[in-house]
Symmetry: C2
Subunit: 354 residues, 2 copies
């Protein structure tokens, strides 16, 4: 088992954590190492659930916060072990999101008496399907462990605070025609031609910008796929446009579905993925205290993240972590060491009331 | 080797020929049997070229005609051996085009002194790519064998005369955008949305009907395929619309290309298949004599067939054979016996001057 030193500099700890491969489904070794590191802190009660590690303080504070991060990564592509390039650490997981995990692990062990009680969670299977997601598993099996007044996920935000997230909907929109030989096309009905108005709607669509709790969310409507065709000499009888809609957290999932069905009325519309957004929730006092301590101007999060699972529990949640989110999953994933230290300082200031 | 009796009733001979499987590339056994049957006629000079059989009369007539048919079929799908259903023969090849081959083989052996000299050709690899096509191979290696004043292909026409054929063009039309995460779509350019005007052009296109040598050809412009998309959360950077254009034989291949490039100006247009059409050529005396003898009103052929190879040689050519062309390649391919006998009677009347 690799040994992690939670008292090491957070940048060194980031590299050590990245250098233990933990592609989704293969997190056990890293979970073991994190569990062992957490158990070095007598102020933490440590539990293991599958490959999720939960470490809690029990100081009887009036407020409890969850600070969580996932420990899995997307597949490695020749980018582990990490290397230093100037003032950046380069390699798989540096951005998404082992630098965040390193900061969390260091502070969990370091801060014996945080201002709020803290539930630290490091979990598995975030990069794969919903039913495998470790946080989702805890939500199903041990919802009591997620009870809190506020939650922070260490997803990359370039050390800024990103509140809530847009909802996410995917739909397959189909047209149906009738096959015929292309030499006698008048005997058929061309399903690809029937899809022209669908693309027209998409191309002309003007997405809204919606203010929610003081943050402005940009919505999106995009074709992310299109397919149709039988053979080079056949009039196609089916065409499918795969549509992705990102909708502001003030809109419910049901309202988003209704909007899509209205836009594409008369077409065969199948909803294939649907996830409600999350309001930023920055109006609760503990969230305000966090924002003040960190000293960063909150921005909206556009992508869907696990903060929405907390929002669904009624727990306001934000993203706060080192690394440029545009580099998540990129083969040249890299995190500036300064951002690691900035997030560490921000969390420490808040948790210690310094 | 299966033995074919060329003096049998043409319907029986059709069944016998269909019951010798000859999917493209596997025609040798059937070619052997046809060659042997043709060699029973002392008035024919028989040659073998690969799996093509050429049988010629040498009567010193002023006029020579080619009467040809391909002996290969598309793959069998549980529909060989043939069976009788009422007054139809059911099975692979009955329509495309072994009934035509049977009629031709019977008449080649039967008619020792046709009015014009006849070059009978039965060839391989018609259902696959151009470079394998047996007629094309003869054209390259023995163009002298195709010299004629008129040509008849036994492709299915439901015993009617179908003159010439439309040209055929396929093009891939592409749009290019820029990838981005679908949560931040404004950072990208959606190539599928850029394809909307291409589908609009296709959906609104009104194909011409063009009279050529007295026959009216219907043109066609169709999307036969469309593809694009990277993943459900990525703005796609490329979309391809696969377009098929059938153009009247009065339009040259170059003119058809220019038409497509003009319709889709500003897009990336790649021509991936291009075949000139064939004028019906029904204005030459030998063709008129054929039409008069058969007593059928000529119609235009919309699909591209090997008649165009003769047209390219300056030899007028028509299609004339039993079977509904809409059933070619269908798994319930079936030919009415009456059409076999009708085509047999039509060819016999013309060739014998009866």
């Amino acid at each position: 088992m690799p040994v992690l030193d939670p008292t090491a500099d957070a940048a060194d700890l980031t590299r050590a954590i990245c250098d233990v491969p933990s592609v989704s489904g293969d997190e056990a070794l890293l979970a073991d190492a994190i569990e062992a590191a957490a158990r070095t802190a007598p102020h933490l009660e440590v539990q293991r659930h599958g490959d999720a590690v939960v470490a809690r303080t029990h100081l009887g504070r009036a407020t409890r916060v969850v600070i969580a991060g996932h420990i899995d990564t997307v597949p490695i592509n020749g980018n582990v072990p990490t290397r230093l390039e100037g003032d950046e650490i380069v390699g798989r997981g540096t951005v998404d999101m082992k630098a965040g995990v390193a900061v969390q692990l260091r502070l969990a062990v370091e801060i014996a008496e945080p201002v709020p009680d803290v539930t630290w969670i490091w979990y598995d299977h975030e990069e794969v399907s919903d039913d495998l997601n470790g946080l989702n598993r805890l939500l199903r099996e041990r919802p009591d462990l997620l009870e809190a007044d506020f939650a922070i996920l260490g997803e990359p935000t370039a050390a800024g605070i990103e509140g809530g997230c847009n909802g996410n909907l995917r739909a397959e929109i189909r047209t149906f025609g009738r096959r015929a030989h292309a030499a006698r096309g008048w005997a058929g009905v061309n399903a690809i031609h029937l899809a022209a108005p669908i693309l027209d709607v998409l191309a002309a669509y003007e997405p809204r910008q919606v203010e929610v709790d003081g943050l402005v969310y940009r919505e999106q409507l995009n074709a992310v796929g299109i397919s149709g065709g039988v053979a080079g000499n056949v009039i196609p009888d089916e065409c499918m446009v795969h549509v992705n809609h990102r909708f502001a957290p003030s809109r419910s999932a049901e309202e988003a579905v209704a909007h899509i069905r209205e836009l594409f009325e008369g077409y065969d519309v199948r909803i294939v993925d649907l996830a409600q957004g999350a309001r930023p929730g920055l109006d609760v006092p503990v969230a305000r205290a966090f924002v003040d301590a960190v000293g960063a101007e909150p921005r909206p999060k556009f992508g869907w993240t696990d903060v929405a699972r907390f929002a669904a529990l009624g727990v306001p949640a934000v993203n706060y972590g080192p690394g440029d989110p545009m580099l998540a999953h990129a083969d040249d994933e890299r995190v500036p060491i300064a951002q690691i230290h900035a997030v560490e300082a921000g969390l420490r200031a808040w948790l210690t009331g310094a």
